[in-house]
């Protein structure tokens, strides 16, 4: 008996001893605690994919071009560039003072090496086709890089801010192979270095002393805490353990807004929330009237005001507002009142062959999530009130929904979304091209494809824009999807954090931030 009690006592003691650590005199360091809602699947920029991985990668690395805190393009590792008259050759001049975290200089060859590895099938990179319009990268000398294009690509500079285009250090890869993206092994050219990674918990980044702009990096240490539960993250923010959250709980949003005032940052975000139609099967296959009717019967203003209520904007176009050099085309019926739209919707519904005696039988699928459920329930009641049919709501686990969407067997209407990869309308318009794998409704319009192709051939930016806007008009009239609203980014930021810039890409580089001294 005594021995069992002793054993228990020893267990408790060892538990206490094993985890008793101490803050090893790091009080003099300035530390920023950020919330990250998903663990990065990799910090090898070629094996990464998620937005969260890109957030951390942007602190660790730097591309030719970068963004300011308010989302404007600015010089990165390249200090200047020229474009040829035919817009097919870009020449970048790298900063001579750009260095890796081990003191080596960053050279043009490192960019060439990186893109070679990105496109190499053996790497199995998710963004392998990101630079599909680039025919060649050439290192003219140590600090001059030339990029040759197939056709004018106005968004090339935007592409070159993406982590998959960051340079790679050949030495690190030679020494550690594919396992280089770990603390102590990784060599980075950005403002920070990876010093620790506890899987599932926290990533610790420390100042890269060799970074060319290190003098302007205010904070010494960044900790990205992985916090997948919004409510748990909010609790940690309120307890003072996090300075910045990655999101805000959707329940009791009004309460959160009231309690936190200026600390709540809501900003437009280039991300569309939409319902897709399965165009390969009835009832939507050959029924443009029905597709339009369902879209018109939704009161988007009511949805964003009363159901989601976080500052989202109703979507009457496919491309979000705020995209560079583009004015989204809107539905022809956008200027009408909701009552007028409802009337037209009812007429179209009847034209499609449905009535009170013969109502539409429909299934709406969405992935398990509070917001999606609320939106679906609201839309269900709108369709019931205006058109007189009851849609079946089916919520599925995310992977199951994705598989169903891909198989196109059981889906009819399903919820989806799309985030822009770069600041140009092309990233939104291209996914509805008939051959694009991300074309989940299965939209196939020769006219649309042709217009986008013409747009891609234009050297004149204004003509290109006109073709894209016309393409969007054509597509919207076909109603392959129901755009519902455009997202907002939402963060809580403590008052002691300075330099936070709301921007439509939701990029927040840690090097732009600083901590105000405590009063």
């Amino acid at each position: 008996m005594r021995s069992i009690r002793r054993l228990l006592f020893f267990l408790v003691l060892s538990g206490v001893a094993a985890c008793g650590g101490s803050d090893d005199g790091r009080e003099s360091l300035s530390v920023l605690n950020r919330g990250l809602n998903t663990e990065p699947e990799s910090l090898d920029a070629h094996k990464a994919r998620s937005l969260q991985a890109a957030d951390v990668l942007r602190d660790l690395g730097e591309g030719l071009v970068s963004f300011t805190s308010t989302g404007e393009l600015t010089e990165g590792t390249a200090e200047s560039w020229e474009v040829s008259d035919d817009l097919l050759t870009y020449t970048f001049h790298l900063r001579p003072e750009a260095k890796w975290s081990n003191g080596d200089a960053v050279t043009a060859e490192h960019f060439v090496f990186s893109v070679k590895r990105l496109t190499d099938p053996a790497t199995a990179a998710f963004y392998a086709q990101f630079l599909v319009d680039v025919t060649e990268l050439r290192a003219i000398d140590e600090h001059t890089l030339q990029i040759m294009l197939k056709r004018p690509t106005p968004y090339l500079l935007s592409l070159l801010t993406h982590p998959s285009t960051f340079p790679m250090h050949p030495g690190a890869l030679a020494e550690h192979g594919d396992g280089f993206a770990r603390p102590g092994k990784m060599i980075s050219n950005g403002a920070y270095v990876l010093t620790d990674w506890v899987p599932g918990s926290v990533l610790t980044l420390n100042r890269n002393e060799y970074y060319w702009n290190n003098a302007n990096t205010a904070i010494d240490e960044i900790r990205h805490h992985i916090s997948s539960q919004e409510t748990a993250e909010y609790a940690r923010y309120r307890a003072g353990e996090l300075d910045i959250t990655s999101s805000v709980p959707t329940d009791n949003f009004e309460q959160v807004r009231r309690d936190n005032g200026d600390e709540l940052h809501i900003a437009p975000y280039q991300n569309i929330y939409y319902y897709g139609y399965n165009l390969s099967k009835p009832p939507f296959k050959n029924s443009p009237e029905l597709r339009q009717a369902l879209s018109m019967a939704i009161d988007r203003e009511l949805l964003v005001e009363k159901v989601t209520g976080r500052g989202e904007t109703p979507a009457y176009s496919w491309v979000p507002p705020g995209v560079d050099n583009y004015e989204p085309t809107v539905f022809a019926y956008a200027p009408l009142t909701q009552d007028e739209r409802n009337q037209i919707a009812q007429t179209l519904y009847a034209e499609a062959g449905y009535s009170k005696q013969k109502p539409l039988r429909l299934e709406l699928r969405y992935n398990t999530n509070d917001t999606h459920k609320k939106v679906a329930v609201a839309i269900q009641s709108m369709w019931r009130d205006v058109l007189g049919f009851e849609v079946d709501l089916i919520n599925e686990e995310f992977q199951v929904l994705l598989a169903n969407i891909r198989d196109k067997e059981v889906t009819q209407v399903f919820r989806s979304s799309w985030v822009g990869d770069y600041n140009d309308a092309h990233t939104f318009l291209s996914i509805l091209q008939s051959q694009n794998a991300a074309n989940v409704p299965g939209y196939a319009s020769e006219e649309y494809d042709a217009l986008l192709l013409r747009a891609a051939e234009q050297a004149d930016l204004d003509r290109r824009r006109l073709y894209m806007e016309e393409a969007e008009r054509v597509m919207l009239a076909d109603h392959p999807t129901i755009p519902i609203y455009f997202y907002v980014s939402k963060h809580l930021v403590k008052p002691r954090v300075a330099g936070w810039g709301d921007n439509v890409l939701d990029y927040h580089y840690s090097q732009h931030l600083s901590l105000k001294a405590a009063e």
């Binding site: 008996m1 985890c19 990799s42 090898d44 396992g179 916090s227 409510t231 003072g240 992977q399």
Partner: protein, 303 residues
């Protein structure tokens, strides 16, 4: 004993086969995402991870690796192998589970004993009601409430795991995890202790002048512990599964969290690796419990 060990191997094999089939039966794959990949990029990645091979071939490949001790790379966390993730998560879950078990045994056995000694009194009724409450309220209700109260409002304890480097971060998760077990063990102990205290040999000891404390310590506790010991198997299993919710709420990077994420991410190798690890663990623990049983109660015949 040796026979029992050998018998465990087919069990483990069955677990592996079943888990493999189940994991691949779930719709979706490790590389599916809303941001759909271009077709040839997707095909290339599937091939790189041998997911385009027929299932039996994939299984043989996995078993070959397993026999070499290689649990494979994580399909989702491409910088880490499954062994590394298990090696990172298990010590944390173990600490959590062991502390919770220790707390549960300590508090459960003492309160159950006290309740048994004071059977029928107000104290007995209070303890048993608390126990009932502890069993009834789910972990995912208790945890956020405790966090709100003790971490956010009173700021006595940390709300998350990754900010603190001391012992304080264990307190809330361990209490949350232990509560249902305290309740079960208290009730078990009380019932069992009442039984034992009614036995002849206890009456004999009392008639010989032994006080309550001595009676409990020397004569009653060991036999009363038998049901508790039998409960250890399911208790450990309950704590293992309980860690999943607790780890999720507190953001603790333990095996439970990796398991759930692995399942949701269709990270086949990670899920399989953890299943095999847990299976081997539980099989060995059952063996240990069997042996312990023989030591505690000499009346149990050794087979």
């Amino acid at each position: 004993m040796l026979l029992r060990l050998l018998g465990a191997i087919p069990t483990l094999l069955l677990v592996i086969v079943l888990a493999f089939l189940m994991v691949h039966a779930a719709p979706g794959g490790p590389f599916d995402d809303e941001r759909v990949l271009p077709t040839d990029v997707a095909a290339n990645i599937q091939a790189a991870y041998h997911l385009d091979e027929p299932l039996p071939q994939q299984f043989t490949r996995y078993m070959a690796g397993l026999l070499r001790g290689d649990l494979g790379p994580s399909y989702r966390y491409r910088d880490y192998t499954v062994s590394e993730l298990i090696g990172s998560g298990f010590p944390i879950s173990l600490q959590l589970g062991a502390l919770a078990m220790a707390l549960a045994l300590l508090v459960g056995i003492s309160s159950g004993t006290v309740a048994a000694l004071k059977q029928g009194s107000m104290l007995d009724r209070v303890v048993m009601s608390l126990a009932m409450t502890g069993i009834s309220i789910p972990v995912f209700v208790v945890a956020p409430v405790l966090v709100l109260l003790l971490a956010v409002k009173l700021q006595w304890l940390p709300a998350g795991w990754s900010g603190e480097s001391g012992f304080a971060k264990f307190v809330l998760p361990v209490i949350t995890l232990a509560l249902p077990q305290i309740a079960y063990i208290a009730r078990l102990t009380r019932a069992s202790m009442i039984d034992v205290l009614g036995c002849d040999f206890i009456r004999t000891a009392r008639s010989q002048g032994l006080g309550s404390k001595a009676i409990i310590r020397v004569h009653a506790l060991k036999p009363a512990m038998l049901p508790v010991l039998s409960y250890m198997g399911p208790a450990i299993a309950a704590i293992l599964t309980g860690t999943v919710v607790v780890e999720e709420v507190f953001g603790i990077p333990g095996l439970g969290q990796f398991f759930v994420r692995g399942a949701l991410n269709r990270d086949y190798t990670l899920v399989l690796g953890i299943v095999i690890f847990y299976a081997a663990l539980i099989i060995s623990l059952n063996l240990v419990v069997d042996i312990l049983y023989g030591f505690i109660d000499p009346r149990v015949k050794q087979r």
